[in-house]
């Protein structure tokens, strides 16, 4: 069974705070992704990684940054949170080859910046 975890599930934080959203997967997948999704809206890819030490920006410009020091871990950081960052953040992973690019998703982190 696919296991991908995100913590925290919900976060309410004040403007200007630094936050890190955690994402971990136990499937040994090389590729990992971060999506931003406003309620009832489509998914926007903000970051992805092909493997350790690989990070790329996605289609939607984001003030967040990511790192990939270990295969299983792909945290997302906001240095200074703002109300415009309020959204749901979804992490996903997939195999580098094969499986046709199927992605496995975590449960999401709902971030509210006050």
């Amino acid at each position: 069974e696919a296991d991908i975890y995100q913590t925290p599930r919900y976060l309410v934080i004040g403007t200007g705070k630094k936050i890190t959203l955690e994402c971990s997967q136990t499937m040994g997948h090389d590729k990992m992704y971060w999506y931003q999704q406003d309620p009832g809206m489509e998914l926007h890819l903000i970051h992805y990684s092909y493997g350790v030490n690989s990070t790329e920006k996605g289609d939607l410009s984001s003030e967040s940054t990511v790192s990939r020091i270990r295969t299983e871990h792909f945290p997302l950081t906001l240095e200074s949170a703002r109300p415009s960052h309020t959204s749901q953040y979804l992490c996903a992973s997939s195999e580098f080859r094969g499986a046709g690019g199927e992605q496995y998703f975590g449960p999401g982190t709902r971030l509210t910046v006050t």
Binding site: I4, L43, Y48, L90, G100, G101, E102, Q103, P107, G108
Partner: protein, 113 residues
């Protein structure tokens, strides 16, 4: 440019009625196709996928989808909808060149009792 379109933003059906959610894609070659479901406040769960072969694909929770090359479509169907099927449904595609998934805008399904 590659794209996935879900023409219906919202659909409401009565419980027990049949369901069809539309998905159209624009790709140079036959893409790999997926349907995901998202319950409120949750991540996305894969319902089914099409890679090749039989154009009618069976998935989890009683869903199926049919790939129609001539119409560039991959519509999702269910013969009898349950109240628990109320959710957001996303169609997605990739060209299997190691490229990203392209998602449609989603269709919100509401189920009337």
């Amino acid at each position: 440019a590659q794209s996935v379109t879900q023409p219906d933003i919202h659909i409401t059906v009565s419980e027990g009625a049949s369901l069809e959610l539309r998905c159209n894609y624009s790709y140079g070659a036959t893409p790999y196709l997926f349907w995901y479901v998202q319950s409120p406040g949750q991540g996305l769960q894969l319902l089914l996928k099409y890679f090749s072969g039989d154009t009618l694909v069976q998935g989890i929770k009683g869903f199926e989808a049919e790939f129609k090359r001539s119409q560039s479509s991959f519509n999702l169907r269910k013969p009898s909808v349950h109240w628990s099927d109320a959710a957001e449904y996303f169609c997605a595609a990739t060209d299997n060149a190691g490229n990203m998934l392209t998602f449609g805008g989603g269709t919100r399904l509401m189920v009337k009792p």
